[in-house]
Subunit: 322 residues, 2 copies
């Protein structure tokens, strides 16, 4: 880190856990924050391109998020969806009226040939977001979940089926040929600190890291790399990560997360309640940091983010990185 | 008309006057109603295909119309438009949230390659409309209005500029190569009665009649042809027809309408207040019918429609048509 400059922090984030971590880091002063979001939950509904993870990130950072449900916009309406329902469309994917405005805009610009990266950047700017929201690719990558009833799109599994089916496998359609954005590579390679949000490792972080070039850049980056466990006391706060990891033959706890990330992360922040796993995590070569990691409100988010930055600064100051 | 069968009535309609006339005729029992609507007001907004005249017709016949303003859906929201405005889009074209649902659906189906005629038919059916809403063409025809500031799209002139500029000319972009739908030709050629709604002759009726084949079919049709004047006491109820007709060098009154339609209509329904024009209208070979034609409410609409049908039946019975 060059002295006198703000610390450059790059967060890899997906889902509600990712958005919460982003909000926390956005509250930290004196850092330059870039957030690489997950685009593999994207799916077309009613001919419009919906990008749930990026939108949750955007709405959270813009202060527009519905804090009760953790996704979608506050003060929403459902009139557009009512019309689509009258017209015989399946409407299990809850899309609010304010939300539709964004999907309409995104789809229009995509159809005009604009880069998805630029569109997401412009939306974030229009909503007054200071952090850089960076798409990892401009190409289409779509998570699919294998169940006993066949392959489902991520939203079919997550929203329509409410994560009820057992997960036999996960694939990211299109990822082999997806190209990373230069902006994502730059955010990774120039970062002082790379943070992995407490997101689902299998369907939030993996579809970012497995884009050709992204995972390699994270490994090659000179940044201090610190992940936050999505588990607290052996359970996830939200979402199906525990059941997915278990059914995929992984340990469904903070140690399983450490095993998954051990080849490239320096530290893993785990909850105090998971302190008993610290020795096993350390044995993997990952430095465990115990802290209360539940983010119930804005104060929790900012406190966790400050703690992460304090840990990172300690290492950076000691190691004299970059 | 074959005895025992319902009278086949085909209405040519545009704008709010057209929708009101359609509502009146839809209230008449024992007729089979087809409505050929105007598609030349169509325009893309935010990448969605908006069809204002067809939608006004659809919402009116479905009982969903906002009866205070005469267009749009009752109980509307503006959340989607608020988002688009935040995103820097021009939002002078008022599109409500329920309304957006329809535009999203229409655009999706058009992009899937479905015929616009089929889409409009399916929407009408989904909304419980018994009358057939028939598009005159599946092709794109767009009214443009020449002003001193140049050519404007119809919605730019009508909504954004509030009809303020003087109109120097009108053209229907794409009409030369537009092909009529077989369904519109059939509705015209098999009709017992063709009614021209009290719509703007220049921008509602003309862009239907000037589609190659449509005007010719109306002329060739054996139906009784009866037009309703949009003028009452020398003024139009709504819209810019009077100023447009005047600035285009036409008489801006019921006689001007008769002159415009004289080559093919049998009768023109004019308001009692315009009775002084009856002799001049008759001199053109058009039979004037005086009646109170202002449609303030559902009762007025049904009464006017019944009167028109009574006039038509008189002629059909006397002439023993078809």
């Amino acid at each position: 880190m060059r002295s006198g400059e703000r610390l450059r922090v790059t967060l890899l984030a997906g889902g509600v856990g990712g958005a919460k971590m982003a909000e926390g880091l956005a509250a930290v002063e004196d850092i330059k924050l870039s957030i690489i979001g997950n685009i593999a939950d994207d799916e077309a509904f009613h001919g419009l391109w919906v990008s749930p993870d990026i939108d949750t990130l955007t709405y959270s950072l813009a202060g527009m998020i519905d804090r009760v449900q953790g996704w979608g916009v506050a003060d929403e309406g459902k009139r557009a969806l009512d019309t689509l329902s009258m017209l015989g469309q399946e409407t299990w994917m809850t899309l609010g009226d304010r939300d539709f405005g964004l999907h309409i805009y995104r789809t229009m610009r995509r159809n005009q040939g604009d880069r998805p990266f630029i569109i997401a950047r412009d939306v974030a700017r229009a909503f007054g977001i200071k952090a850089a929201i960076v798409l990892p690719t401009d190409d289409i990558v779509q998570t699919q979940v294998q169940t006993d009833a066949g392959w489902l799109s991520f939203q079919q599994y997550f929203v329509r089926e409410q994560c009820a089916p057992d997960v036999r496998g996960v694939r990211f359609e299109g990822i082999e040929t997806a190209r990373p954005t230069l902006e994502a590579l730059k955010a990774i390679l120039t970062a002082d600190v790379i943070v992995l949000a407490p997101s689902n490792p299998l369907v939030s972080i993996a579809p970012i890291l497995e884009i050709p070039g992204i995972g390699e850049a994270v490994k090659a980056a000179t940044a201090h790399k610190i992940a936050v466990s999505p588990f607290i006391a052996g359970k996830v706060v939200k979402g199906p990560a525990d059941r997915m990891m278990a059914s995929m033959g992984m340990r469904a706890d903070a140690l399983g997360v450490a095993q998954r990330y051990q080849s490239f992360v320096d530290q893993l922040v785990i909850d105090n309640e998971d302190a008993t796993l610290a020795a096993d995590i350390a044995a993997l070569g990952v430095d465990p940091v115990c802290y209360p990691i539940l983010m119930k409100d804005q104060t929790d988010k900012a406190r966790l983010a400050s703690e992460i930055m304090a840990e990172a600064r300690k290492t950076l100051d000691a190691g004299g990185r970059a």
